[in-house]
């Protein structure tokens, strides 16, 4: 019994040390956004030079910076993420249901292609993707690059495989009798899907949305290639990258920009901590 108590203390101490290590960079970011440029360079760890008015000054300097255009980048990121997530959930659910409930050669083949495509790294398709999108834009006269619809389209394509994979696994577990009963009661196939199956998918759609959402919100490479480093439309990661590139070593501005980019994610995490952690795990296990 005594042994147990001491090991408990050791574990707690160990855990605290690791927690300090994982949280220390965040602490440094928050702390230093309260300082001016000189204060950061001369004393990055201590509390010297910390003032609330300096934080406000830093934030307004970054938010009002025309190169960064924080609110615009933030809004663009929100629109792209939300649109992609809604469409992925809807189209993914529809496709997974068809694949799952039709045991034909075609549906199996489509499913296998989706699964196999999950090992394709983005790097191997990114260069032809940009040129294909450019050609398509010229051909049909809708801008696919440097436009929000184009990037949402791309995210639907790239997120589709994983979404279908997870949703198919879930739909398999829904009793087919439910759909038969609906059909006997005179429900059309599309009605069966939207009224019976889709509402049942809520928990797994939460999982898929969390996985895709973390990826899309934080993704840098795809938007930087499609939107361009200095294009009109920018997502938050692209804007941060461009901002840092033009203000090298101006840590007061860079750290404040980093803080502004982090805060939305942290807020969401604090609100939906359980769902996010469970969703990330379920997505990996399936």
């Amino acid at each position: 019994m005594k042994m147990k108590k001491s090991s408990k203390i050791i574990f707690t101490i160990l855990g605290t040390i690791v927690a300090v290590y994982t949280l220390f960079p965040f602490y440094l970011v928050v702390l230093n956004t309260f300082k001016n440029a000189n204060g950061i360079v001369s004393n990055p760890v201590g509390f010297g030079g910390v003032s609330f008015s300096q934080l406000m000054a830093n934030i307004s300097a970054v938010v009002n910076n025309s190169n960064f255009n924080f609110w615009y980048a933030f809004g663009t990121s929100v629109i792209i993420t939300v649109l992609s997530l809604v469409l992925l959930a809807l189209f993914g659910g529809m496709a997974a249901w068809v694949i799952c409930r039709n045991k034909t050669k075609w549906s199996t083949a489509i499913y296998m292609v989706f699964i196999a495509s999950m090992i394709i790294p983005f790097q191997v398709v990114m260069l032809p993707l940009i040129s294909t999108f450019r050609d398509v834009s010229q051909f049909i006269g809708i801008s696919m690059l440097q436009s929000i619809p184009g990037i949402v389209f791309a995210y639907c394509g790239f997120g589709g495989a994983m979404t279908v994979f997870i949703l198919t696994g879930f739909i398999k577990g829904i009793p087919y009798e439910l759909e038969e009963a609906a059909a006997i009661d005179g429900c059309s196939p599309e009605g069966t899907f939207f009224r019976i199956i889709f509402p049942l998918l809520t928990p797994v759609i939460t999982t898929v949305t969390i996985l895709n959402g973390m990826w899309i919100w934080n993704d840098y490479l795809l938007p930087s290639l499609m939107l361009g480093q200095n294009g009109k439309v920018k997502t938050l990661p692209v804007a941060v990258q461009a901002f840092v590139g033009s203000y090298v070593k101006q840590w007061d501005l860079i750290l404040t920009a980093a803080l502004l980019a982090i805060v939305p994610m942290i807020v969401i995490f604090l609100v939906a901590q359980k769902q996010i952690m469970n969703g990330m795990v379920e997505g990996a296990i399936k």
């Binding site: 408990k8 574990f11 220390f24 790294p121 398709v125 260069l127 032809p128 993707l129 980019a261």
Partner: protein, 354 residues
Amino acid sequence: MAENSNKTKLLSYVLLAAGIAGLAFALVLDFSGSSAGFRGPLLVAGAIVFLVGLYFFPTVEHHRSIINFIFLFPLLFTFAVTVLIPLALGIVYSFTDWNGIRLTGFVGFSNYATMFKDPSFVWSVLLTFLFVIFNMVLINVIGFMLALLCTSKMRGINFFRASYFLPNLIGGIVLGYIWQFVFNNVLIQITSKWGMMNSILANTKTAFAAIVVVYIWQYAGYIMLIYVTGLTTVPKDVLEASQIDGANALTTLFKIKIPMIASTVTICTFLTLTSAFKQFDVNMALTNGTGSVADFMGSYLTNGTQMLALNIYNTAITKNSYALGQAKAVLFFIILASVSIIQVRISNSKEVEL
């Protein structure tokens, strides 16, 4: 009822006709090189109207097939345009002199030959393998130890779990800059007292270690969560039985817990392997691949910390050698695919033995 179905019939035919007409007209404009601004929206509208017409098509027999088609179409179409077509084109382009916009001819395997003769590329490949091995081992060991910590009976477990997982929420670009600050401005104040005047990121070897550390910091919390879930599935009565049989903590760990979560180990190994292989953001933001190597394959390198994914990006985007970059990307794909297949095979056979 009959009147109603007649109306749907008419509606369906009208919509189908309108959709086809719209599509055809837009395509004619496209092929004739027209620059009319409405041709794009017309094409999209034509396709949508056509699908709606198809939905109302008066048939009982084929209604299910029509719904199947309409339901599959959006995702398959986007998937084909963004993944399948670029993949096929990419493999073809790697054998040509493609410059990102057009190509003039096939060059056979010369892109592949060029890249293997390039010391900086070979360096990147070897470095990536080293990075993958380091990360796969360290992240799994650390993640597993953290999971043991987080399943032991200690106070504030939820806080610890959340704080370990927190770095995983933030994108690699932002993380990279934060850590660049930590290394260049904070850590240097400590190391300079020991006589190391340069930042850790200035030396190739320590910079590489720094990338490994940052990546572990970002990823170990996620792997920990998966191990935690695995460990909680180990039945309590099995653990109790082993305790009664006199097994100590270490024996329980190696003889019971680890074998029982073998499938979790597989998942985590697979995840860390592929994600470390594809690492790009942290690499770019932290060092951007810089770092000097005095002598490798007889030449001086300036890309000492450049991983494969960043090398591909720089070859194509910065140096504008699209075909060469694409050939590297195809090799990247082949390596990743074969490693994944081998890894899955090995872990599957292991699971069967158990």
